[in-house]
């Protein structure tokens, strides 16, 4: 059993190494993720963010602008999810006084 587990882990690791050997090199200009037009022919949103984030919000940290301004409703939803998790702990984890 132990040998079978080790064999599965070794095979899976070999599969991952084989998969990474075909990845594009990091930082090369003609990578797919650096293209201005996506495979379906639509403009990529990341280019707009990179070009206009500082002009729109005068904030050097592009990630903050995307999270808080361009995708603000998404972040509001994340916060409501966290609040819901906190409320659930009141219902589930808090001990009743009569037990």
């Amino acid at each position: 059993m132990k040998a079978a587990q080790l064999l599965v882990i070794a095979l899976f690791g070999a599969l991952l190494v084989y998969g990474t050997s075909d990845l594009p090199h990091r930082g090369r200009a003609d990578n797919r993720m650096h293209a201005e037009v996506s495979m379906s022919g639509t403009p990529v949103a990341g280019n707009y963010y990179i070009r206009n984030a500082y002009r729109d919000a005068k904030t050097p940290n592009m990630v903050t602008v995307i999270l808080g301004d361009y995708r603000g409703v998404d972040t509001l939803g994340e916060e409501v999810v966290i609040l819901t998790a906190g409320l659930i702990t009141i219902l589930v984890l808090r001990r009743r006084r009569d037990t």
Partner: protein
């Protein structure tokens, strides 16, 4: 906690570290415009400083730093700050969460977005800190009082 270590070294170490972690959390929230960070990360750091005292000193002493009944109002207030910043934009004639319509006279729209981002980061930080503390408090409620 169920089996607290009554160790003065742990207690004084936590008392020494907790204010610095809290200060670093405030820095991460306020400096999120210029460096990696923001409301979520800073809120987690603030919660870490509170939970360190909770773990080291037990609930009774740690309540002197942050009462457990404050967590729920603080979380709701954080969400309300975020939602209110969006709603003010709607009332002032823009879209929801469009900070360029915040009613601050004499500030250009790009700078208004800057301040809007700062407001919502503070709201996120308050909510995340309060909710993390609230989860810990609800998990350990009543476990250290019956000693």
């Amino acid at each position: 906690m169920r089996s607290p270590m009554h160790s003065p070294i742990v207690l004084y170490g936590a008392r020494f570290l907790s204010p610095y972690i809290m200060l670093f959390g405030l820095y991460v929230i306020m400096h999120g415009h210029y460096s990696p960070g923001g409301g979520f990360q800073g809120g987690a750091l603030l919660a870490a400083s509170v939970l360190l005292m909770r773990l080291a000193a037990g609930q009774e002493v740690a309540r002197l730093q942050f009462k457990d009944v404050w967590a729920m109002p603080l979380a709701v207030l954080g969400i309300a700050i975020y939602f209110g910043a969006g709603l003010v934009g709607v009332i002032a004639g823009g879209y929801f969460l469009d900070y360029a319509h915040l009613p601050l006279p004499g500030v250009e729209p790009a700078k208004l977005r800057y301040y809007g981002l700062l407001i919502i980061e503070v709201g996120i930080g308050m909510a995340v800190m309060a909710i993390l503390v609230m989860i810990y408090d609800n998990m350990t409620l009543g476990e250290d009082t019956d000693e």
